[in-house]
Symmetry: C2
Subunit: 359 residues, 2 copies
């Protein structure tokens, strides 16, 4: 029996369509017997099918942030010109996930390990079979969405004309692996998690709160907290206002992560830790990145502490023709949520230029 | 009954003397009925008593790192010229601490809250009463030792001729407060901690391992892990070698923190979170730092993620005559352990120049 978790409803996330991929064999050897991907589309696919943009999602995220913050008329991701498909990653709570499936062979603790490459293969198949799309004008994503963007560009060079990995790496670093482990241990150390067999995410409330607290350190920045930037962020709901940073942490960050499904976060965490395009070239990162033919803008966020520019820039240097376009946000990695107009203007300017580049 | 924990023995930490301060009233209202501070001294106090250097200790640390790494003939901290007193902070497992006291009114979970200002007052009293020292040529410390150094310079301007806070702030930031909370929650979420009433620190092994894992993220740097810098670090003991970063994390970082006393770490964590010299000036940081008459070198470590230069530099700007002397270590904050000769040379050059500055 799937668990009821209203966080993953259309009321909260906005509409999406659950599209069938079918039986799907995973790189680690597991199988998802009837994989579905939750897809939200914006705009119309033209007859030539050459105006498609693909957006894979990040850790803990869904398609929601994209329509709320990045997609709109007059924006770089303009649905009056482009057909934009935001595809929720496997296991994120929207696409087939540990708590959503009624297939007991993969439910909850039995959900198989999924890799970035699995997501990208499933997306490619769905886009081809369901929409008839053979080529994307742009693949763009942030964080784990950047991991998938890199993987797309390496794995399907003929299908990706342009790529914009934002705040994410092609090869996850050991530092990131360890950071992600602390995020996962915060959950699994909660006795309420019960080896993945909880009856409600609320039984894992303490673990999810610790998870949120760890995000508040490397996910944000000292300037975010010191300048009290959070005062300008609207509360999630009435009654969840905040006037101190500890209240913000409680009523915003902890409350937000507290709504999520623990096994979904763990499935994504495992995947994130192992993101590595070099797997496509026998472990040779330079060889893998050397296959990329997409025009690529690598877009780190300057104060990002766990996908820092110093990790992104060397990857750009190994990618033919790639350019680094630095983004700036006082929120560091969480700048991805688009708290600042200046950040959104930067993203739009770079994506607009990229989309106007002939390839 | 004090707990037996060999980590805090002279065999492991090197010799120190447990000196009596006596009944000590704390800023938060608690009392330590018979406070003792563990002091390790190097060199001879001259007759004029004007060659004294004070070194307060950092979180989880003791006097050990100072004699192992920073003090020596020909070094800036040269015991043939200076009388160097390294004073273990209250609650660190060497000075009076939750697990070392046989006074049941303050043992284990009943250990009272201690502030940075308490340590500095106790150190001042001990140095005056026991050694007859009224003035220090230099106060120098790293991390929480820097917090104490700042507090010394603000609280006793006439007694501190020179100050060198390394990789630490005068006023703890909210970002740091939250980071420290994750470190503390990693321990208290372990059922073995038992509200502070464990029978052995080994009952809290899982919590201490999570604590160590969180240190491995913001305490170190992505370059440390990516370049496999850890390969050059000697193992703690035979049988604890490492050939992968996960083995290093297990056999070095986790093993090291796993030897420590959980309540000691929590006592220091609470103190660290609330370090703030502005308390001496009604909350006005600029006014507090404006009182400093010591010649001050503010020494952040460039890649330090939780006491970053961007937090240290504004404090230097508020301190009369202070200069920023940037340090460089691939280990970030843990550069303090002195893994690199280049780092130690930088520290020595700056401290030597500072000690030669007429005041």
């Amino acid at each position: 029996m799937p668990l009821d978790n209203p966080f993953y409803s259309a009321e909260v996330q906005g509409p999406s369509e659950l599209l069938r991929v079918g039986r799907f064999e995973l790189e680690e050897g597991g199988v998802i017997p009837d994989l579905h991907l939750a897809v939200a589309t914006f705009g119309e696919l033209n007859e030539a099918k050459d105006n498609a943009i693909l957006v894979p999602t990040w850790f803990s995220g869904t398609h929601a942030t994209w329509w709320q913050v990045y997609i709109g008329e007059g924006r770089a991701l303009d649905p009056s010109r482009w057909f934009i498909a935001v595809v929720n990653q496997i296991g994120n709570g929207m696409s087939t996930s540990p708590h959503t499936t009624d297939d007991t062979s993969i439910a909850m603790s039995r959900f198989p390990d999924v890799r970035i490459g699995d997501d990208v293969r499933a997306q490619e198949q769905l886009m081809r079979e369901h929409f008839g799309i053979e080529r994307f004008a742009l693949v763009v994503g942030g964080s784990m969405g950047a991991q998938q963007t890199w993987e797309w560009a390496v794995r399907f060079p003929d299908k990706v004309l342009r790529a914009a990995p934002i705040a994410g790496t092609a090869q996850n670093t050991p530092h990131d692996f360890l950071f992600t482990r602390t995020l996962m241990d915060a959950i699994t150390s909660d006795p309420g998690w019960n080896g993945g067999e909880y009856a409600s995410h609320e039984e894992v409330a303490a673990g999810l709160a610790r998870h949120a607290d760890i995000w508040a350190t490397m996910g944000l920045t000292t300037d975010f907290w010191k300048t009290e930037f959070w005062r300008g962020i609207p509360p999630i709901a009435e009654g969840l206002e905040f006037s101190t940073y500890e209240e913000f942490q409680q009523n915003f960050t902890r409350t937000l992560f507290g709504m999520m499904d623990p096994n979904a976060l763990l499935s994504m965490g495992w995947k994130w830790q192992r993101g590595d395009v070099a797997r496509n070239a026998g472990g040779d990162l330079a060889a893998a990145l050397g296959r990329i033919t997409a025009k690529t803008f690598v877009m780190p966020i300057e104060q990002d502490m766990f996908f820092p520019p110093r990790d992104c820039e060397p990857e750009a240097a190994m990618t033919p023709g790639a350019e680094v376009r630095m983004l700036h946000s006082i929120a560091g990695h969480f700048g991805l949520f688009g708290f600042e107009q200046s950040y959104l203007d930067e993203v739009d300017a770079h994506l607009r230029e990229l989309l106007e580049t002939e390839v």
